[in-house]
Amino acid sequence: MNGLTRRALLAKGSLVVAFASSGPTQAQESEESTSLPGDLDKYPFLDSWIRVDAADRITVFTGKVELGQGLRTALIQIAADELCVSPASIELITADTGRTPDEGVTAGSHSMQNSGMAILNAAANLRVLLTETAAWRLVTSVDQIELQDGSAYGPNGQHVGYGDLVAGFSLHVMAKPDVPRRSKGRRLIGESVPRVDIPAKVSGHAAYVQDIRAPGLLHARVVRGPSFGTQLKQADIDAVTHMPGIEQVVRNGRFIAILAAKEWDAVKASRRLQAAGWERRAAPLPSTDLCDTIRRSPARDIPIFDYPGPPAPADARIVKARYSRPCLMHGSIGPSCAVALWENGNMIVWTHSQGVSPLRKALAELLRLPLEKVRCIHVEGSGCYGHNGADDVAADAALAARAVPGRPVRLQWMREQEHGWEPLGSAMVVELQGALGRNGRIVGWRHDVWSNPHNGRPISAGGLLAGAELDPPFAPQRPRPIPMPEGGGDRNGNPIYAMPNARGVYHFVEQAPVRVSALRSLGAHMNVFAIESFMDEMAQAAGVDPVDFRLIHLQDSRGRAVVETAANRFGWKRRVNGRSGRGCGFGFARYKNLGAYCAIAMEIAVDPDTGGVEVRRAVAAVDSGEAVSPDGIRNQIEGAIVQSLSWTLLESVRFDTGGRTSFDWSAYPILRFPTAPTSIDVHLIDRPGEPFLGVGEAGQGPAAAALANAIADAIGHRLRDMPLTPERIRAALRS
């Protein structure tokens, strides 16, 4: 039973609705306390992760999703490597609440740690079972068995296929801990295997949820006010019901969706309804400067860290600085989209949500259905970079589909809806105070960070936009802080550097004046920007080279190797002199102080007339444990640097007291090709045998800090408020 895959839907052009009755055993918690690697600990049965059919075909299951980060390829590589087969012989099924383990949300750079390590160890367990069974079948010893391309070979060339072998034992067995990995033969791990998703993406073939089509499919658009806190005034539904091509207008409380056979007809009708005008129902924003608002708001104080040590001596030199970041957008290039089908009392939603399981739960509540009647299947969408409109549009599509049983409904937001409604990355303020001893060492440190929540992902109907629009509405979901060591607004607020007498406090401002949630790297972008800017300010006060100053305070040996590699490869000691319109900067962090290490050195030039920044080169060093796909890691780090340059140089969501006013790319400019760096080089420090560490969010903080430090080096003035725009650079040059 294949259930309903996008491939089947696209290939056959027909919809087959069936729930996996023989799906992997789910939600079985390990009863033993022995810890298994990654999410294997939550789903210890091998058949939750890997199956082999009679024709030797191997299917691997993951609860994580492809977001363009290359996860699909990396997981296939891991399984193929351990099972001694080619990547092409493995089919990978990604998050589908009907088929795969529930691995929560694909976020926080956890996929390689949690799913990668689980699949690696499940595959190692299977390899041992295959080897033992083959030895018995071929009447030889296990050390005489070689696995290759789906068959086990004995010493005299006699062989038996994996499918044949698996028929002789059960895969519904608990994984054993401490099963050794394969120790001989050619390795796929560590090779840059070409990404399996790229051929379709570079040839225009169906690759996204936006591309799903099926017989009888209806296109839908949702109609609402322009941004969070607003709603439509009385809409003239009758006028659009009779527009050409309109099949139905779905209304439920304030939720309105328009369905049409032709997409353009739905777009035209939605524009007509939208023309009715809107009003703001929420209170006006207290200020259009959200950093100021957050800094002054009542907050819950949460300790981040407390490193013991004697108080700073009276002659210590005190350095203070305040840094800020405005609200940022995820800014997916493709507006969010979902396809939903309501049939025989079951709701299936094809979604690019990062968390199909929590979404399923929220949808079941929204639709007042038992959980087992809702299935969410992940299909790639446009890159999301965190909690964008994906979950909300899935709810919109499901509500629309419920009005037309048996007909799939594809609902995509318009550009102004994605810009207007997506949850933003919170504005943030960091205040730092450091004490410098006479020996040039840090003898005191205080980190205060103010932020709205970074965790508004839906776990209930109230976490979905439509939840507030239905009659009766669902109560809004209450955001909670994410505890350390992962952290939310305080993520990476704990410096990696060894320093005594240091503490940090997260001032968690629960009441957000605008809609906020998880944006890639959460608070790490801001905290690393602030800490690494401040390390340069401290180094300057101490009269020490910034890289040397970091190394003086860095004891973590892997961290030191990353810093030294980036500095050496960049040629830090031979860098151009600052204050000449050119400058160099350095930034370093270990993501969450649990994940990948990343150091970045950057050389820039500032145009004194325009204030424009040209990034001449960026050199990064990365340690993400054992490197599975070196090119995949480079792709992620290059992307992190460019994306962070865009955030840090250019981006700021605009507001008036009525709400957001950035509704398109002209009001929310992001980096374009002429501003891209001249070159980026990424150097990997491979750590064979060490656990895999995700790299999707490792580079954003260090890149932001390296840029700020390079600008300070180039112009002799420090900019502490993002974005570091040409206007601010010109103002600094005039001062």
């Binding site: 790229i198 296109h219 040209e614 090119d631 992190a640 992001i670 070159s679």
Partner: protein, 160 residues
Amino acid sequence: MISLTVNGTEHSVDADPDTPLLYVLRGDLGLDGAKFGCGLGQCGACTVLVDDRPAFSCLTPIAALDGRKIRTIEGLGTPDRPGALPAAFEAEQAAQCGYCIAGMIMRAQALLERNVRPTEAELRRHLAPNLCRCGTHMRILRAVRRAAAAMGGEVQESAR
């Protein structure tokens, strides 16, 4: 009925004349390559070629396209036999989410057909209308340089 010539094939399309080309390509002709990004001509995800020049298909009504030559990424080859640009993008692994890539390739195609020896600055200016949010810019530039070489040309170094 409106007649459209797409990738060398003539199609009769039953759609309102005000329909943007993008919706006809995707909805009526089953061509998925061009993507809806903004509907405003600000991001380039929908880029196709009209008479060999890049055009925002999200803004171009089909009424304006009678007798004109439309090309989409589907006309540049197949996964098995890709054209120079798709092959170069694959060789450079120049995609993350990939949503912008079809538009990038079509805009680059227009440049390289006109001038297979652009300077780096010309290349970057030419691609400026197209947005990539994943930050794949360095790889996209490498892919276009590789394609230029495969087409017998070269992207020339230049001061930025």
